[in-house]
């Protein structure tokens, strides 16, 4: 009896990594099946970034000031736009319930889904950003720091956003409600992420910002899977 | 007295702050009154429907659907 409860409460490492790997592989396979959709999301990022110079000015000083902020804000929006994909299809066809009822540990399963979300949205954005940063009069070092900050920051966006995506399952007003819940929580990531390049420009080291992003990522990695698993259970009640 | 209302030339700022707070407090208290009355009215209606028994069932069904 007590042995059974212990295994249920603390699943061993093998079953955790098996559950994580299963969910990751499944969601990646589904995402890659609709490559057009992924392409559209990246195009959204490119277009939003390219609109700002048209709305302000093509002068290099203006663009250099705006650059990091624009690239980061657009990354936030791109992440937000793709969040419903995380759970809603599985929720409406009942797969999510099956997953939650399975003996596999739910936090590990949702972690796999979040990892797949980051690999298909955050990572491409972080890879693409240095290319787009060229439009904003940024030099080599700045582009490197920008990419590093995005690589550390976009996983946090996926982890925090997944909590909001799970909480809004079955709620009215889907997308805009999700934005209201998630965007305020994104504020610190935006501040440190865009601040990394600003610090470099001000002649300081971007180290503190990158360390804080890394600390935030560790915190989110530890806490978010359990919060998301709880939110999924609440939604399935 | 008029000196008090003039607030040393800052009347607009001071009274816009305190005025907004006064309006907010009044609105919140009125909204609470309305909510309380509405809660009791709905509870009363639900119980009247239950007390009336099966004759009013269709109406109760209608309400739960809409």
């Amino acid at each position: 009896m007590s042995e059974a409860t212990t295994t249920a409460a603390a699943p061993d490492a093998a079953s955790v990594s098996a559950a994580f790997g299963w969910a990751l592989a499944r969601d990646l396979r589904i995402a890659l099946r609709s490559k057009a959709e992924l392409g559209v999301q990246l195009m959204f990022y490119v277009i939003v970034v390219s609109l700002f110079p048209l709305a302000t000015s093509p002068s290099r000083e203006v663009l250099a000031t705006l650059g990091p902020g624009v690239l980061w804000t657009a990354a936030l929006l791109a992440s937000l736009l793709s969040l419903p994909r995380l759970f809603s299809a599985d929720f409406s066809d009942g797969t999510l319930e099956q997953i939650a009822l399975s003996p596999r540990p739910l936090p590990a399963l949702v972690s796999g889904k979040m990892a797949a979300h980051w690999l298909t949205t955050g990572l491409p954005v972080a890879v693409l950003a240095p290319v787009l940063g060229g439009q904003y009069a940024m030099d080599g070092t700045e582009l490197g720091i920008l990419a590093a900050a995005l690589l550390l920051g976009t996983p946090i966006l996926s982890l925090l956003g997944a909590i909001g995506a799970a909480l809004t399952l079955g709620a009215r007003g889907g997308g805009s409600l999700l934005a209201l819940l998630v965007l305020p929580l994104y504020a610190p990531v935006l501040i440190f992420g865009a601040g990394a390049v600003d610090a470099l420009r001000a002649g300081m080291s971007a180290g503190p910002q990158l360390s804080l992003l890394a600390a935030g990522l560790l915190l989110a990695l530890v806490a978010a899977p359990f919060a998301v698993a709880t939110a999924v259970r609440i939604a399935l009640d | 007295m008029s000196g008090f209302f003039a607030m040393g030339g800052y009347a607009w700022y001071v009274w816009m702050s305190y005025g907004a707070a006064a309006v907010a407090v009044i609105v919140e208290i009125l909204a609470l009154r309305l909510r309380r009355r509405h809660a009791f009215d709905t509870a009363r209606m639900a119980q009247d429907a239950d007390a009336a028994g099966p004759a009013t069932r269709p109406l109760a069904d209608l309400r739960s659907n809409g």
Binding site: L160, I163, L167, T168, G170, A171, R172, G173, L177, L180, L181, L183, P184, L185, A187, P188, I191, F192, G195, D198, A199, A202, L212, G216, A223, A227, T230, A231, I234, A235, D237 | F4, M7, G8, G9, Y10, W12, Y13, V14, M16, S17, Y18, A20, A21, A24, V25, E28, I29, L32, R35, R36, A39, F40, T42, A43, R44, A46, Q47
Partner: protein
């Protein structure tokens, strides 16, 4: 003591207690606020540098404090609701959210009207103003999530989880905004440069804080009573409550 606690954790026995407390705190709120306004607007001397515009802080500071404190209280009740699945604590969290949002909104509004004569602009992206703005968004998110979920028990638990996630984030948000502010602002314009306060000013501030605090307690308890009636409308004790009310 412990027995008392559990006795009042059920809506039936909490309802009349909340009524008595709400009335008591309402009287306290009226008394403290009138006294505080008298001290703040009449007795306290005009400030040498800011003139009479500084009198706005007697409203601004208490509401800003309450906005933060109510979020903590909401997170506390949310933790209880999620951990022990208690109905009443979820109702308390639900009752706190609108008043917390109102306090944040009033703090921003009065801050803007204090900022205009003091800084020369209604909105200055001051660190505290910015974090209060984000706090307001967090409140609005909880309220919106509540109204978007039809099943009250599900809404209870979803909002509790969101409040807790927000509570973990609030210190990080405050820290990050502070960081951002010091990085981008050469001249420090913040409330720390507030005037050296005379004793009567401190008194006025404390009395107003007591008033606003009492008001928030009174309003929250009044709201939780309505929520209890809304939720428990099918139960027998609400029926007898209605019967008694009808006889009155």
């Amino acid at each position: 003591m412990i027995v008392n606690w559990f006795r009042y954790s059920s809506p039936v026995s909490f309802y009349p207690l909340a009524g008595r407390l709400s009335r008591a705190f309402g009287v306290l709120a009226a008394g403290f606020t009138i006294a505080g306004l008298y001290i703040g607007l009449v007795v306290a001397p005009t400030d040498a540098t800011q003139g009479d515009a500084y009198r706005i802080i007697f409203l601004h500071v208490p509401t800003a404090w309450m906005a933060m404190l109510i979020y903590l209280a909401m997170a506390f009740w949310s933790a209880l609701a999620l951990g022990f699945n208690t109905r009443l604590s979820a109702m308390m969290a639900q009752a706190l959210a609108p008043t917390g949002a109102l306090m944040a909104a009033l703090a921003l509004w009065s801050g803007a009207f204090w900022g205009r004569p003091t800084w020369g602009t209604y909105w200055a992206w001051d660190a505290r103003m910015t974090s209060t703005l984000i706090l307001l968004f967090l409140y609005l998110g909880v309220i919106a999530l509540r109204s978007a979920i039809d099943d009250p028990r599900r809404a209870d638990r979803a909002c509790a989880l969101l409040s807790l996630v927000g509570a973990v984030n609030v210190p990080i948000i405050y820290f990050s905004v502070q960081w951002w502010n010091t990085l981008h602002q050469g001249s420090s314009i913040s409330f720390t440069s507030a005037p050296k306060m005379a004793m009567t000013m401190v008194e006025g501030l404390l009395v107003m804080t007591a008033g606003v605090w009492s008001y928030c307690i009174a309003v929250t308890l009044a709201r939780v009573r309505s929520i209890i009636v809304e939720r428990e409308r099918g139960s027998g004790w609400v029926a007898s409550l209605i019967a008694r009310q009808g006889a009155r």
